[in-house]
Amino acid sequence: MRRRAILGYGAAGVGAVALMLFVGWWQVDGPGAPAPVGQRPVALTEMDFRLTDHEDNAVGPETLIGRPTMAFFGFTYCPDVCPTTLSDISGWLDDLGDEADEMNVVFITVDPERDTVETMAEYVGYFHPAIRGWTGPEEQIARVADGFRATYERVPTGSGDYTMNHTASVFLFAASGRFVTMIDYHEPREFAVPKIRRALEEEMEGAT
């Protein structure tokens, strides 16, 4: 009798564990998973990194808090995607006009070996003046990318040269540091500008 009770209890326990596992799977990997959660950047307030901007100022996530932020990764030896993204961003900023004045716009290199402070300064000088270029030691770049859930990888192109594969999306954060949304590469401008406005508006709400 006693033994049977234990067995019954055990069976219920197994059932409960199975249910928990199922619920866990449903929420984490299954259809109940909130799709992009693993890929969403953390808030800027939760990031920790030290970089140098193209005017040799020490910068970090705290530099960005208090104003909405548009940030993206790239490298100055990038012939196609990076100048295109920088030109797109310059165009969006032109479209936004005065609205964009209170925004941080940051281009973070994934190739610090070649992208020194001087290199970044020269490069960003060809695009919209709001764009800041950030570089720093490789391990700090790795920390930034980790916070953004961005990836990058060095790929040899033959005869000692290399290129970088990297996340090409543009990330938008509210003035509070909260991640708002991202603009994917190839996204049409008519989608990009409203997304930037969303990040800008969130600042207004936070301010009131």
């Binding site: 196609d80 060809y126 990836t151 033959g158 996340t167 090409a168």
Partner: protein, 155 residues
């Protein structure tokens, strides 16, 4: 196919004025329009050039490579962006263009990757770029060099 070479040379001569003129050709030939590129900073970085290549002929044509005095390693590349938003770039291999079809080399997709520049790409100048086809034909276009922040042939 000597015809490509001839018309290519003709096109190069026609475009020497720096106009963004089609490298035009007769029937069964290749027309290149809207060629452009961005200025470089110095010579250490690779450049990229863009254009639309039209096969106006009756036969398929296959683009197999590039040649230019501007760069020692010109190559047709393709940029791809995956579902995670990560962009990568690699040689595109041969590009077949069916009769009446065109292929666009444009930012974020196919591009003429100009590796090992022999001189800086200076805004306002042009450079000759020769497209090599599998039948031995060639078409040379004069590619205008626009500003570093150019977004398209009109900039």
């Amino acid at each position: 196919m000597k015809k490509h070479t001839l018309t290519g040379t003709l096109a190069a001569l026609l475009t020497l004025g720096g106009l963004s003129v089609p490298a035009l050709a007769g029937p069964e030939d290749v027309v290149v329009v809207n060629a452009w590129s961005r200025a470089s900073i110095g010579m250490n970085r690779p450049g990229a050039a863009y254009m639309t290549i039209r096969n106006t002929g009756d036969e398929p044509v296959t683009l197999i490579g590039l040649a230019t005095p501007l760069a020692m390693m010109p190559e047709i590349h393709e940029t791809k962006t995956n579902a995670e938003g990560v962009s990568s770039m690699s040689p595109a291999g041969e590009i077949a263009i069916a009769p009446g079809e065109s292929v666009a080399l444009e930012p974020g997709g196919l591009h003429a990757m100009l590796m090992r520049l022999q001189e800086p790409m200076t805004e306002g100048e042009t450079f000759p770029l020769t497209l090599l086809f599998d039948d031995g034909g060639e078409v040379t276009v004069e590619v205008p060099i626009l500003g570093i922040a150019a977004r398209g042939p009109e900039d």
